[in-house]
């Protein structure tokens, strides 16, 4: 009985016999597997950065957003402007006063605005918040200081710069003490914060300026509502209790009865993470499936070439059968060939995807991560394609009548 390794050796001999043909046949598989693995690695990379960036904000966070939680999803909501004005500064005071299971709470209004220093200008993200941001949002001071409670109380025109905007406007100089213009109004720089890196949404978190929430509300935007409230708990276990507490407090603040719908939604960081994770997952699966179509095409290519191969080698099959090869020997021989073909293409596709993801990681903001499971998936898919699309040609080879096959050209 021909051993497994002999079959493999014969299969490779056939492959090498006509290298161009083999490569062209494998091309569909290479592209299919390469695309699927590359997309999966981008998805996995996105998943990783979702986790990293949200954990970078600060763990054990509870996030309160205005509006009905059913329709809204995640921090993206803060950019919509459909009258979601239910969160007020007084809510912050109430939470600070009555919630027992939180370590800190901060308000947030997030928007973009132009900032100017001397003759240099840029657009930045403005984080309008309170002094609690240092502990709740993990803003780490580099030089100078963050604004204080009294700054917030006085609606002081003070600003704290992120690394990117600081370098852009001031180069290597320390901006503390200098004056910049935000939306045309003068602000004194009182501090700079350490680098936070790029978050999931491609936003450079260092291209930001933090200003007191009151200054933003009263002097810049003229709005009396908040986009977001963030509260930090001591431990993860307390997050459920803290959520309940905050819900009760806010309901009372907003005058909502027990059975009425809330005009805010409250989510833990974990929940947001899971949602974003799930979304990324769905995108990855959707795009991978589309890429998998080229796997299908590749498989058809293999079946086509195997059929041609069987016809070309009809005489050979007749000789082998005359000498004693059984139907299943012929079947195994040709099936091995198609699996070797597709598996080789699959491995080349994995290498191709690997190169792409390294290049993406190095030269683009897209982060990628190839996992063992995606490689195993690609390998098993390639094998399956080889088996599935190779079985029909292999069977027609096995069924050949030796006498007729021997007469063949």
């Amino acid at each position: 009985m021909r051993t497994f390794s002999e079959n493999i050796k014969i299969a490779f001999q056939s492959l090498f016999l006509n290298k161009l043909r083999s490569v062209l046949t494998m091309l569909g598989i290479i592209i299919g597997v390469g695309a699927v693995v590359a997309v999966m690695s981008i998805g996995a990379g996105a998943q990783d950065s979702v986790i990293k960036s949200i954990q970078g904000i600060g763990s054990n966070l509870v996030i309160i957003m205005p509006g009905d939680s059913q329709r809204d999803m995640g921090p993206m909501n803060q950019f919509s402007s459909s009258g979601k004005e239910s969160l007020k500064l007084q809510d912050i005071e109430a939470i600070q006063k009555y919630a027992k299971h939180i370590e800190g709470v901060m308000p947030l209004i997030l928007s973009a605005a132009p900032v100017v220093y001397m003759n240099k200008g840029s657009n930045v993200s403005i984080y309008a918040t309170s002094e609690s941001a240092v502990s709740v949002y993990n803003f780490e001071i580099d030089t100078g200081k963050f604004f204080s409670k009294s700054d917030v109380g006085n609606s002081a025109n003070v600003a704290v710069l992120g690394k990117t905007i600081r370098e852009k406007l001031f180069g290597t100089d320390d901006p503390v003490g200098k004056s910049i213009k935000i939306m045309g109004k003068n602000f004194k720089v009182i501090g700079t914060i350490k680098s936070k890196g790029t978050n999931t949404f491609g936003q450079d978190q260092d291209n930001t300026i933090a200003i007191p929430i009151t200054t933003a509300m009263n002097k810049l935007y003229g709005q009396n509502y908040l986009n977001l409230i963030m509260a930090k708990t001591g431990t993860e276990k307390e997050m459920a209790i803290a959520s309940e507490e905050i819900t009760r407090i806010l309901k009372k603040q907003h005058g909502i009865k027990a059975d009425e719908k809330n005009d805010f939604s409250i989510q833990s960081q974990t929940e947001i993470l899971n949602t974003l994770s799930a979304v990324t997952n769905i995108f990855t699966i959707a795009i991978s499936s589309i890429a998998a179509i080229s796997l299908l095409v590749g498989g058809i290519g293999i079946m086509n070439i195997m059929l041609v191969s069987v016809t070309e080698r009809t005489r050979e099959i007749g000789i082998r059968k005359a000498i004693g090869a059984k139907n299943k020997d012929i079947l195994t021989q040709f099936l091995t060939e198609s699996v070797v073909l597709s598996l080789t293409g699959g491995l080349m596709g994995i290498v191709f995807a690997y190169i792409i993801s390294i290049l993406l990681n190095k030269y683009s903001p897209i982060s990628t991560s190839i996992s063992i499971s995606s490689i195993l998936l690609a390998i098993s898919f390639s094998t399956f394609v080889g088996l599935f699309f190779g079985i029909y040609p292999a069977m027609s080879a096995a069924k050949l009548n030796p006498i007729e096959a021997l007469r063949h050209e």
């Binding site: 009985m1 021909r2 000789i319 082998r320 005359a322 000498i323 004693g324 059984k326 139907n327 006498i403």
Partner: protein, 253 residues
């Protein structure tokens, strides 16, 4: 030749369908071949000799009648069992050699052993021995395209012998060879027969058939005559008398 019956055929019939036509290739053939015989099968085209060879070689099964090879009833066997018999009991030698072009001499001779279920001891040694016995010791690594017609047929013979089969079936083995090379091949067959091998040969050339012990004449699917050859031609003697190619060319000039 011994008394042991190797092949017993009783009233063998086989009909083929070609399109709408039915061709009765064999109409009731009776035949018996003993161990050590050297038999030639002759007949015009359409006589059924190819079909008879296919039956004897277990490439196909009869429609009616019986065929016993070493007492095994072939008509009752399935495809897999037929393949096993072909592998172990039959050695084929074809007119067009039918070697695998991508394999070397060694690999071609080795081929039947790959399909044998039982492990063969000292397989490689045996392959080398058979290749040497047909005089191709220096050509083990060559591919068929690098060999002459006569050499290719020798490879085919070594391949046919490798599993120590009960019978050698040769279908016009000298058909594609010149007369000198043909005699060389017949010399090999005669040597094998002297060593006890049972050989059945199909040919349309009487000269070749006269090298055997018995000629069976087929016509229209039936055996019409069996002729014992008292003094078969000796290929070796013919070769000695045959001028070389070089001599023939110089004689022509």
């Amino acid at each position: 030749m011994t008394d042991k019956i190797i092949i017993k055929i009783e009233n063998l019939a086989k009909t083929y369908k070609i399109g709408d036509f039915k061709v009765r290739a064999l109409r009731g053939v009776d035949l018996q071949i003993n161990e050590g015989e050297f038999v030639a099968v002759m007949g015009p085209s359409g006589s059924g000799k190819s079909t008879l060879m296919n039956m004897i070689g277990c490439l196909d099964i009869p429609d009616s009648g019986k065929y016993f090879i070493e007492s095994i009833d072939v008509s009752k066997l399935n495809d897999n069992q037929l393949a096993e018999i072909r592998n172990k009991k039959v050695g084929f030698v074809f007119q067009t050699f039918n070697l695998l072009a991508r394999l070397s001499t060694f690999q071609n001779v080795e081929l039947p052993t790959i399909y044998t279920r039982i492990k063969i001891k000292n397989k490689n040694k045996r392959i080398h021995e058979y290749i040497e016995s047909v005089g191709l010791k220096n050509k083990e690594k060559n591919k068929p395209s690098e060999l002459s017609g006569g050499e290719r047929q020798r490879v085919a013979i070594a391949r046919a012998l490798i599993n120590n089969p009960t019978i050698i079936l040769a279908d016009e083995p000298t058909g594609n060879l010149d007369s000198r090379t043909g005699e060389e091949i017949m010399a090999i067959f005669q040597k094998l027969n002297r060593e006890g091998k049972t050989i059945i040969l199909v040919t349309h050339e009487l000269e070749i058939a006269l090298h055997t012990n018995k000629i069976i004449y087929l016509r229209d699917g039936l055996i019409i005559k069996e002729e014992i050859i008292e003094n078969p031609s000796s290929a070796e003697e013919i070769l000695l008398k045959m001028p070389n190619l070089e001599d023939r060319i110089s004689a022509a000039n």
